[in-house]
Amino acid sequence: MQSQIQALSHATAPEPTKCIVVQDLVKSYKRGRVRALLGLSLDIYEGEIFGLIGPNGAGKSTLMGCLLGLLKPDSGSISILGMPPGFLPTRRITGYAPERPDFEGWMTARQFLEYHHMLSGRDRLSRDQEIDALLMRVALPSNVWHRRISTYSRGMLQRLNIAQMLLGQPRLLLLDEPTLGLDPLGVVQVRKVLMGLRETGVTAIINSHQLDEIERLCDRVAFIRDGKICSVQHLNKDREEEYTLKVRWNRDRASDNVADAVAEAAGAAGVCLKELTLSSASFTLAQESAHALLRELISRGVMIEEAVPERTRLEQLFEMGGQNE
């Protein structure tokens, strides 16, 4: 009975809709001398937050440019909700936050958003309301809304950049290094905005070198290198993620049986001891186990000076050149 129910639920479960379909995309510059994309294919589903990572010159920005209609592929196809990127209806549902936005210094934040609001062809009557809501959403302080943009800090500019991206309630967002230059509060704000959007079914593509942010935000991530996708990883948040924690203690103040104490603590906390030296140890553990491990170590007299994660999973992927583990 149970298996029948399961089979039925699988059968009737709706297939996720594809938001973006990229097929065999080829793009080169300088009359073919620089080959940026070499037959890249990719499917991105509606409602997912998709990350793009890869070394400099891999083709990430070229892919973003093609998705935005700013670059014309040599061959291949792109479909965004069934429409080509260069169509006006596609532009209406797309929001874009560039890495290095250029603002007119004489404008205020409100004027800047008003300008983009008008460019988007939005209804004039709802303009003020929408702009206020956006500025509050990105936590730009209200006392700077009427100040000239030339007086803004990097963080304020990035907030404004995010705000203009969200104009018109787009269904697809393309973000290029969205947390670059932001203070921790700003990073949290951007994260909140994106997580909030996920619940409304908005699709987002994030191009970033901030691998920890990608890991936090994205459902899937594609590693691009030399114009091709090397791998696409699912970043399953439900599964406990394992990572490596390196703990360091003061060797001079450590007791003689510190090694035994560390091994015991690992066992008690249920984590794997990977490496042990006179002054440090590396553990493989799940996210939630770190607190328990540190408590066990301290209770056994280990004078911890430092405990840092060694590398994220995506960093490992990066180092391996995008090959699957």
Binding site: G57, G69, R100, W106
Partner: protein, 267 residues
């Protein structure tokens, strides 16, 4: 036409301090000052004055407005290094709409500024006893709008066509046109024949003729008073003028349609 581009290009002209200072100084203070000095001291109006209150003055005003053409207002970034124009072009507007609105706004701003300047200068002349009919003054003001329209079209094309060869050509052509404006059509006096002097004379003559021809080809402007009082309808002048504007606009749209914006790591 896009109201956002129109509004914010106008605002940029009014609120950008550097542009405003440039326009006030070159568009108003200098020519009006020169006019006053001319009348107060009984001097003749200089060629510089004629230029600043004529087509060259319109070109100076528009160059100041257009340079750094982005944004709501003025710059046109290449898409490399900073991303203003690409950001605009990811909005649901056609690139043709962008070009035409920019051109229309520059024409409006440049035309109004130059027309007001001409009006002020004319009123000063009238105050000092110069006889100018309202018909003539209106013709001058209209002429400034017509100048603004064609110069804006040329500048718009020059700003979006980023290829270095075209930029060199555009700058060269602009200077040739300005040269043609500094002196009306003229033949250099002197004997023909052989010798260095004769060669120099012929060379000067050729240069002046070429500059006039190039000027008429790239920026065929209309003299409203002359056109209105010509014995024959000035078909060629009007067709040349309108066709040049349309060609520049079509070329600007074609260029920006083909243009790609790359802002990542190259190579």
């Amino acid at each position: 036409m896009n109201n956002g581009i129109l509004k914010f290009t106008l605002l940029s002209a009014c609120l950008d301090k550097i542009k405003l200072s440039y326009i006030i100084l070159l568009g108003f203070v200098v020519p009006i000052g020169m006019k006053l000095v001319t009348y107060m001291h009984g001097a003749e109006e200089s060629q510089t004055f004629e230029m600043l209150t004529g087509k060259v003055g319109v070109a100076f005003i528009l160059t100041g407005l257009c340079l750094g053409l982005a944004g709501g207002g003025s710059g046109s970034q290449t898409g490399k290094g900073s991303e203003y124009l690409p950001l605009i072009l990811t909005r649901p507007i056609t690139r043709a709409e962008y070009i035409i609105t920019k051109w229309a706004t520059f024409t409006l701003v440049g035309g109004v500024l130059a027309a007001v300047q001409n009006l002020i200068v004319a009123l000063i002349g009238v105050a000092f006893g110069e006889v100018l009919s309202p018909y003539v003054v209106a013709g001058l003001m209209l002429e400034r709008f017509l100048d603004a329209a064609i110069i804006s079209a040329a500048l718009t094309l020059a700003l979006v066509a980023q290829h270095w060869l075209f930029q060199v050509f555009a700058i060269g052509a602009f200077y040739v046109w300005m040269m043609a404006q500094t002196m009306p059509p003229v033949s250099v006096a002197g004997p023909s024949g052989v010798g260095v002097d004769a060669v120099a004379l012929e060379g000067t003559h050729l240069m002046l003729t070429l500059s006039r021809l190039v000027g008429e080809l790239i920026l065929p402007t209309i003299s409203v008073y002359d056109a209105a009082n010509a014995p024959n309808f000035p078909y060629l002048a009007i067709v040349s003028y309108v066709s040049t504007i349309v060609i520049y606009l079509v070329a600007a749209i074609a260029v920006i349609n083909r243009r790609e914006f790359f802002y990542g790591t190259s190579g």
